[in-house]
Each structure stands twice: as structure tokens, then as C-alpha cells.
């Protein structure tokens, strides 16, 4: 059995927010006394035993059932699909559903809230059946969605039995169906409300918002103290759910940012680069100790190359000197790292380059991926948002690399030097030209 609840941290945030909200909001004005007797399908008044306060509770509880059920369905959908786009869509679906359903639930008029709940629930089911399942989800993934909205529709319509006559319920169904038939492109149902509908049926149902329909207490205006209490309950309801909504909205924003083409390319290149490094490291890791000493010798050779490279830097033409100035500090820091990473092995065999053909091939691959990565980084660095995401990715990459510090370090140094050597060749050609 799974128990779904808010965390303690969220509760703390809630308490703090409650204090802030309580100090910022003023009570809503007292409801005017209105009495228009509701009519049943046979024309006779037919009161229920439900009061407006009870209806408020029912609607809020339905809101809880709505977003719990939708959240479960969306989460299961996310696990079942391989599509990143659909997963992102599901996250947004959950976020917007929660926000809009809570928005409806905290409205001042319980009957309006009920009618809007009925609208959003039936309309959600219609768009899921008419668009999302055939066009996006497919029948297998979409079937639980259909069932969820069918159940929710039945749920809220049962609550409405105490407020609307059967005729009024039929009119509302027809009104929603007609609206969707006239607006088939409206595939996002979350912001449609009864007030968006027009015509005689809509006006008739809007009147119920004031009369209270079949509710039993419409003949009495609520006292100011009751209004203040009702307002407090609405605020509390919202605040208890606000941390969850805010968290989901934040996660949706992050997910949306990471889906931008530049970020996707950068992440893909990062993954390839890390994968390449891992293969390279695995290869090194299998080498015996004496051959590792040979790698140190190779590093010395690379060090000599590095010195030559530094000389090139100082003799470079003014046209490329600016670029080289940027690279020089990096090379100097690499030199320092090489000194730290050296592990002299007395009596080691001389370095035989022919034993390391595969190693070099892997190093070349690593350098190639590094080059691709750097290219992607340049694009990402062009905008601030991308840069922030990049920092996050680099931190994650760094954490992966840090797990095998020494070998990763060695691999990166080797890869970097290969890249610099290639760079030197290119730079010298530029100078000649």
C-alpha cells in the first residue's frame, strides 16, 4: 500500500506562507441574500439536505480526488512511455491540472466551483478521447487516461445530484458537448469555465450559481463571521497544496529548459564524451603496473610537446594570439596536474607505442567527442539560460568523473593534449597562410 502525503519541509513552507497570506489578504464581502427556488424536472421545487458549506467541502474533496487520481495516472504513463516528449507533456499535464483544479476549488461561490469542476472534468474526458488518445498517446497508453476521466466525471456528477436537477445536469452536458463541437482545436481543457459559455442554457445555469440550486440554505445570508471562516478555509486549502503545485511548476520549468535544442545537443555530447572517457579509462585500467609506468613516460613526451606548444604560443602571429592567450592558462594548469599525476615506477619497461594502438584510437575518439562538446558549449554559452543548465550538467559530469579520480584525470589529460596537438597543427597552418 502506498501512502501519499506532503513532506515535512513542504509543511513548514506552508506554515510560513500561511502567515504571509493571512497578513496580505482581506476577507471577501458578505454574500447577498438571494432566494430563487430551484425547479426539478417536473417543475416542482426539490431541495436536498446539503448546505452550501457542505458543498464547499465536497468540491474541495473532489479537487483532492481529481489531482490525486490524475497524478497517479500521469506518473504511471510516464513510466510506461519511452518518449521524452510525452514524459515532459505528462509532467506539464499534472502541473496544470493541479493548479487549475485548486484554482477552481478555492472560488468564493461553491456552486460556481461545482459547475466549473463539472465543465473541466467532462471537457478533459472529451479532449482525451477525441484528440489525445488517437493523435498522441495511442490506445494502449491512453486507456488509463480515459478511465480516469470517466471515473472523475461520474464522481463529480454524483456530487451534483444534490445541487442540480436532472434536467439542469443534462443541459450542462449538452452545453459542454456543443462548446467542444464548436471548438475542436481547444485541446487544453484546463482554463475553460462555465462563464466562457454563452446562450440560454449557460444563462440558466449561471442563475443557479446565485440561487444555490437544490441546496437547502439559500434563504439565509451568511454572517460576516461565517464568511471570514469560509475565506480562511479557502486560503488554508490553497496553502496546503501550494508547495506541491509550486514544486511541480518548478520541475516543469527545468524540464522545459533542458528540452531546448541547444541544451539537448550539449547533453548528448556530454553523454558521448563521458562514454568515450569511460571506455578509455576502462582500457587503461586493464594495463599492468609496468605499462602504467610507460604511460608516465608517454606523458613526459607529451610534456615535451607541451613545451614546444608553449613556445609556439609566444611566437604566434597577432591574429591568433588572443585565442592562444585564452588557452594558455589551461595548458599551464594541465602541466601542474601532470606533475601531480606522475607515478614513477622503478625498473619499468620502456614505452612501446605499438602496444597502445588501441589506446591512442580511444584517445582520438575522446578528443573528437571533446571537440563536439566544446562546439556545443559555445552555442550554449550564447544565452544565459542555456549557460545555467550547462553548469548543472558540468557539475553532474564532474561528479561522475570524480568517482574514479585518478584514471579519469589521466584520461582527460591525455585527451586534452591530443586536442592541443591537433590545435597546434591547425594554428601553425593558419600562421603560414
Amino acid at each position: 500500500m502506498r501512502l501519499i502525503a506532503f513532506s515535512a519541509i513542504r509543511f513548514l513552507v506552508l506554515c510560513m506562507a500561511a502567515v504571509i497570506m493571512a497578513s496580505c489578504q482581506s476577507p471577501q464581502p458578505t454574500t447577498e441574500q438571494v432566494l430563487i427556488a430551484p425547479l426539478s424536472s417536473d417543475g416542482r421545487p426539490q431541495e436536498s439536505t446539503m448546505t452550501r458549506e457542505e458543498l464547499e467541502d465536497h468540491v474541495r474533496r473532489f479537487a483532492d480526488r481529481y489531482f490525486t487520481r490524475v497524478t497517479l495516472t500521469v506518473n504511471e504513463f510516464g513510466k510506461a512511455t519511452d518518449s521524452d516528449e510525452l514524459r515532459a507533456l505528462m509532467h506539464n499535464w499534472k502541473t496544470v491540472s493541479q493548479a487549475s483544479i485548486v484554482d477552481i476549488a478555492i472560488g468564493q461561490n461553491a456552486v460556481t466551483n461545482l459547475l466549473d469542476m463539472m465543465v473541466i472534468t467532462r471537457l478533459s474526458r472529451l479532449v482525451v478521447e477525441s484528440y489525445w488518445i488517437p493523435e498522441e498517446f495511442g490506445e494502449e497508453l491512453g486507456a488509463p487516461f480515459r478511465q480516469t476521466y470517466l471515473d472523475l466525471e461520474q464522481d463529480i456528477w454524483t456530487v451534483a445530484d444534490d445541487v442540480l436537477t436532472p434536467t439542469q445536469q443534462d443541459e450542462l452536458r449538452q452545453l459542454i458537448d456543443d462548446w467542444y463541437a464548436e471548438n475542436p482545436d481547444q485541446i487544453y481543457p484546463w482554463y475553460v469555465r462555465l462563464s466562457d459559455f454563452s446562450g440560454q442554457r449557460a444563462a440558466s445555469l449561471a442563475a443557479v450559481e446565485q440561487t444555490g440550486g437544490l441546496l437547502s440554505e439559500v434563504a439565509r445570508a451568511r454572517e460576516a463571521a461565517e464568511e471570514i471562516q469560509a475565506f480562511g478555509e479557502r486560503v488554508l486549502f490553497y496553502l496546503q497544496r501550494a508547495p506541491m503545485i509550486t514544486t511541480n511548476e518548478f520541475e516543469s520549468s527545468v524540464a522545459s529548459s533542458l528540452q531546448q535544442p541547444q541544451i539537448e545537443a550539449m547533453v548528448a555530447n556530454t553523454d558521448r564524451f563521458i562514454s568515450s572517457v569511460e571506455k578509455f579509462v576502462a582500457l587503461i585500467d586493464e594495463l599492468p603496473d609496468e605499462q602504467l609506468a610507460a604511460i608516465d613516460q608517454a606523458m613526459d613526451r607529451v610534456g615535451q610537446e607541451r613545451q614546444a606548444l608553449m613556445q609556439d604560443f609566444s611566437q604566434a602571429e597577432p591574429g591568433i594570439r588572443a585565442v592562444l592567450t585564452d588557452v594558455r592558462p589551461v595548458v599551464e594548469s594541465i602541466e601542474h596536474i601532470v606533475q601531480l599525476a606522475k607515478t614513477p615506477k622503478p625498473g619499468a619497461k620502456p614505452f612501446d607505442i605499438t602496444q597502445y594502438t588501441e589506446l591512442v584510437r580511444e584517445a582520438e575518439g575522446t578528443a573528437r567527442e571533446l571537440s563536439l562538446l566544446l562546439e556545443a558549449l559555445r552555442e550554449v554559452a550564447a544565452d544565459e539560460q542555456g549557460l545555467k543548465a550547462l553548469v548543472g550538467e558540468l557539475v553532474a559530469a564532474e561528479q561522475v568523473i570524480a568517482r574514479q579520480t585518478f584514471w579519469y584525470l589521466l584520461a582527460l589529460i591525455a585527451a586534452f593534449f591530443v586536442m592541443l596537438l591537433i590545435y597546434r597543427v591547425v594554428a601553425s597552418r593558419v600562421v603560414r597562410n
Partner: protein, 99 residues
């Protein structure tokens, strides 16, 4: 509000809810709507509402809303206690998930 996903038919969960309440003479039923599988109960200034809905395939969702009054408990703690009682009666274990 606490929502518990229970690997048991909704009808059985609701029956368990009724059974647990029936065993507590200090708790009185305020509202009982069997069609909606909803029960509202109270004890002194404590009120608790539970509702069960079916998820199909032998699974259900148990929702509990509670006002713990001046008992010193939070509404959530009271809800969790109620869920724990019902789960014990049903013989199922609890796994907490934040969402």
C-alpha cells in the same frame, strides 16, 4: 488530506472502514453515503472524513481528510492514524510516497 493506494477492492476497503468505526463506540457517524463510499465521523471536536474510490484491477484509493481540533495532533497525523488502522484491519503494509 492523505491518499492511500490500497491493493484491495474498494468495496472491501470501505467495509473495513465501517468495521473499524463500529469497533469504536466513542466515535459517532455524522454522514454515511454508501453509494459514494464516504463516511464522516466525529469524536469530541475531532472530525474525520474518509472516502474510497476504485482504481480497477483490485486496487483502490482511500482518501482521508481530518480536523484534529485541540487534540494536539495535526490533521495529517490523525489521517495517517486512521489509514494505519484500516490497513491493519486489511492486513496490508504502508509505504509513504510524497508527490
Amino acid at each position: 488530506m492523505i491518499a492511500a493506494q490500497v491493493p484491495v477492492d474498494a468495496e472491501r476497503v470501505y467495509e473495513s472502514f465501517l468495521r473499524v468505526i463500529a469497533e469504536r463506540p466513542d466515535i459517532s457517524i455524522v454522514t454515511q453515503k454508501d453509494a459514494a463510499m464516504m463516511l464522516e465521523v466525529s469524536r469530541d471536536d475531532l472530525t474525520l472524513t474518509g472516502q474510497v474510490s476504485s482504481l480497477g484491477a483490485g486496487r483502490s484509493l482511500l482518501y482521508v481528510w481530518a480536523d484534529a481540533g485541540d487534540s494536539g495532533l495535526s490533521g495529517r497525523e490523525l489521517s495517517e492514524k486512521a489509514v494505519a488502522y484500516i490497513c491493519e484491519d486489511l492486513g496490508v503494509s504502508i509505504e509513504r510516497v510524497d508527490y
